[in-house]
């Protein structure tokens, strides 16, 4: 969908299927490559989005992802109706995780999700309410 100078990609993230988590990120990676973005930009966007996608699957039973590609920036909006984040400061700490053991056995739950999202983006905004949901908006400048 093209809206003036913005290209939007929308994905429904399936909360039941952990093994397919990451498909939206891989699709974005391919689309950005076709659009001619640099390898560094593509890596930053796709890693940040993958972490967010995994978070939504682990904690929030899925959600929706929108990626808006502008000429000078890429915006990633991840919205879920999950349990919310009671303590954002803690959640942002590297190594802090509330992921269950079965998720850890797959190699996740290292407490690096939000720290990676912050590290790889130019800005991150988290709107969250316990019991209502969380919306994470990240921007990578091009």
């Amino acid at each position: 969908m093209i809206d003036n100078d913005k290209v939007n990609f929308h994905f429904d993230i399936d909360g039941d299927n952990f093994t397919t988590a990451g498909e939206a990120s891989v699709k974005i990676k391919k689309a950005l490559r076709q659009m001619g973005f640099s390898a560094d930009t593509i890596r930053r966007v796709s890693v940040a989005m993958y972490e967010g996608e995994i978070n939504m699957v682990i904690h929030a039973d899925g959600g929706e992802a929108d990626v808006n590609v502008y000429p000078n920036k890429i915006e990633i909006i991840l919205a879920d109706k999950g349990p919310g984040i009671p303590d954002i400061e803690k959640a942002m700490q590297a190594g802090y995780s509330t992921a269950p053991d079965d998720i850890r056995s797959l190699g996740f739950g290292a407490g690096m999700g939000l720290p990676n999202m912050k590290k790889y983006t130019d800005s991150i905004d988290i709107q969250t309410e316990v019991g209502v949901g969380t919306t994470v908006t990240m921007v990578v400048n091009v």
Binding site: R43, E51, G107, F108, N116
Partner: protein, 108 residues
């Protein structure tokens, strides 16, 4: 060095080698996927014992040159199919991650 050359020098088994000519410029080891994704340099050889579907996604997103499964860890069929579709090089070695990294440090 290319992934194909590295595979020969390590005595590795080629599980999936869609891009044999891809250059390897470094190495990284780790089994926590988010940690690896945040830190593994692009174009590196990633040594791990993890072999589930998510390994393929992380390899693709982190843009590593190849995954090296240590200790003869087997890739499940879904992951193999995904690796073929995504064009991800995957090798397998009998040695552990430590021995494999020690070998890599002499080769790269």
């Amino acid at each position: 060095m290319t992934v194909a050359e590295l595979s020969v020098k390590l005595g590795a088994k080629n599980i999936c080698l869609p891009s044999p000519e891809r250059e390897v410029t470094g190495a990284y080891t780790g089994d926590l996927l988010s940690w690896v994704m945040g830190r593994a340099p692009a174009d590196s050889a990633w040594v791990t014992i993890m072999s589930n579907l998510n390994v393929v996604a992380v390899a693709s997103l982190a843009d590593v040159a190849c995954v090296i499964l240590s200790e003869n860890v087997e890739l499940d069929s879904d992951a193999l199919k995904k690796a073929e579709n995504e064009g991800i090089n995957i090798l397998s070695v009998a040695d552990g991650s430590y021995e494999t990294c020690a070998a890599l440090s002499k080769l790269i």
